[in-house]
Subunit: 327 residues, 2 copies
């Protein structure tokens, strides 16, 4: 067997490793999104077509909007393959993002990692990490070209789902010429862009909509109209039967209001603990604000944890934001 170093391998090498194996266990990251699942499903189908035993080992639920992708590929069963030839994590380069399955991952005779996150360092026996890819789906699509397998509609649809979700429907700054060229190629395999979009986006829980409505009722615009804050409490979740993860995107909704430069979203985790997300539009460095509370992040997206009640956290954040905007 080829000795692998910890730098990137080529996709051709990875294809050879996969071809030499009999069983492959794929690992998604927790809080599964369209990219980790779509990429894993595409590769899983391809491996099965090549006669391999292949499964996707998961530890959390497949979200409703992604369920159309899983036609019997995902399992919670750690024993589905004993001593797999290959354990391969997809769209994930941090063992903490598959914590409950970590032990199983290292049971693989060979461990691999295919990812596009810029923070991922090669850590497995073989790796392909390409931060210029808009989605891991782009990488998987290119890997499939190195395998003696015919791409079919299901594979292509899973790749499309991975790419369209991870690029915000081709709008985020990770979208490149290559992204559109791949989307165009997928058409030839019978992908119905709209059919997938209907599955992904026309399936919102009423409770989610009611929760989001309740949150938006409580927007406070401050700092002379430059900043906006709102949030979610445990009580709001109970009242609406919404889920905490269904508030995803709310901080961006705040940011996207005309004239708002700074958006702050507060999640009440428990009585004296809140998580805060911040976004800025053009010039505020939100990481500088979050650092005052030992948080982290980037200039346009940052967050922190505040050990205070919901109301006190909101007050504290408004104070810090106004201080920063004056400075």
């Amino acid at each position: 067997m080829k000795k692998m170093n910890k730098a990137n391998n080529t996709l051709k090498e990875i294809a050879e490793i996969l071809m030499a194996s009999r069983s492959v266990l794929l690992f998604t990251h927790i809080n599964m999104d369209g990219d980790t699942l779509g990429s894993s499903v595409a590769l899983c189908i391809a491996l099965r077509k090549l006669g391999k035993q292949a499964h996707i080992l998961i530890e959390d639920d497949v979200a409703a909007f992604l369920r159309f992708l899983d036609k019997g590929y995902c399992t919670y069963d750690n024993h589905i393959i004993e001593n797999p030839d290959i354990c391969l994590c997809i769209d994930c380069g941090d063992v903490d993002r598959f914590r409950e399955r970590k032990e199983k991952f290292f049971e693989g005779k060979q461990k691999g990692c295919i990812d596009h996150h810029v923070t991922t360092e090669p850590f497995a026996d073989f790796n392909f990490i390409d931060p210029t890819a808009s989605a891991t789906g782009e990488i998987i699509y290119e890997l499939l070209k190195e395998l003696p397998v015919e791409v079919d509609k299901d594979i292509a649809s899973a790749i499309f789902a991975a790419i369209t979700t991870d690029t915000g429907n081709f709008q985020y700054s990770n979208t490149t010429k290559r992204t559109h060229l791949i989307a165009a190629e997928l058409w030839d395999y019978g992908v119905d862009y709209n059919e997938i979009s209907v599955e992904l986006y026309q399936n919102n829980r009423l409770e989610k909509l009611l929760l989001q409505t309740k949150i938006l009722e409580q927007i406070t615009v401050f700092a002379g109209g430059e900043a906006a804050i709102c949030g979610v409490t445990q009580e709001m979740l109970e009242e609406t039967e919404g889920r905490m993860e269904e508030t995803e995107g709310m901080v961006e909704t705040l940011r996207d209001i005309s004239g708002i430069e700074l958006a702050i979203f507060v999640k009440e985790v428990s009585r004296e603990k809140c998580k805060v997300s911040m976004r800025s539009k053009k010039y505020i460095n939100v990481a500088e604000i979050s650092q005052k509370l030992n948080g982290g992040g980037h200039a346009r997206a940052a967050g922190c944890t505040v050990m205070k009640s919901y109301e006190d956290t909101k007050q504290e954040m408004m104070r810090l934001a106004e201080e920063y905007l004056k400075g």
Copy 2:
């Protein structure tokens, strides 16, 4: 001068007509969207680069989210060009959609029409109508290839704005392989997909958000969970300072709720007059419901006008919907 018949011309012929002219007046449709304006802007820039006198004659406001496109191309001034060599309507094949400018249009020595709407019949001296194009922007891009002009970043960005808005960010069923191939080509001219997306989508009025929130507070789910109804009254507009046109998309938001097959949205136009929009997800033919009230539309999208109060219209629609669902 070549004699034109009323069928489609080739883009080459249209390029020749444009090249032989000195002045071109472009016409958008009313309720300007990204496609009519982006396509017109792209062609206007190209014509000016070719030394032509070119302007876009408009009759309604450029919406805030599209204003970045207009760098001095649009005018309300009917006299900006007297007796233009060419009057060309873009993304519009119905003179009622440029009613206030109709007389001016027919002042053109030659009249032309470039459009992708399936309902458009060739009516001008020269025409190019292609319903397989996802957006008129696609056609304009191909027309530019027939002109001795270099596509630059501004032209390419206007084309991208046209295409991305008219395809719902590459998600609607009008999106094709060609759409993605063009988007990929635009990259080479320096288009920044994300920069345009920020202009288009990160610019929502707070009043719009508050209006939409107020509307969603009032969702009624009925017919055993299969149908949902809500709407907007004049009072709600006043309270939130939202605008009627800012309720666009709300009926689709209703439709996109899990389990909802039929979505109904009621707009109170005046005390005894409401406009109703309906959408269905998979199987209900909403045109059959709207026809009972002398309305029109398609199987998945239809509407009608009801000469009743807001509350009575809602009751009537719920009654009709339940009757239909039972039948």
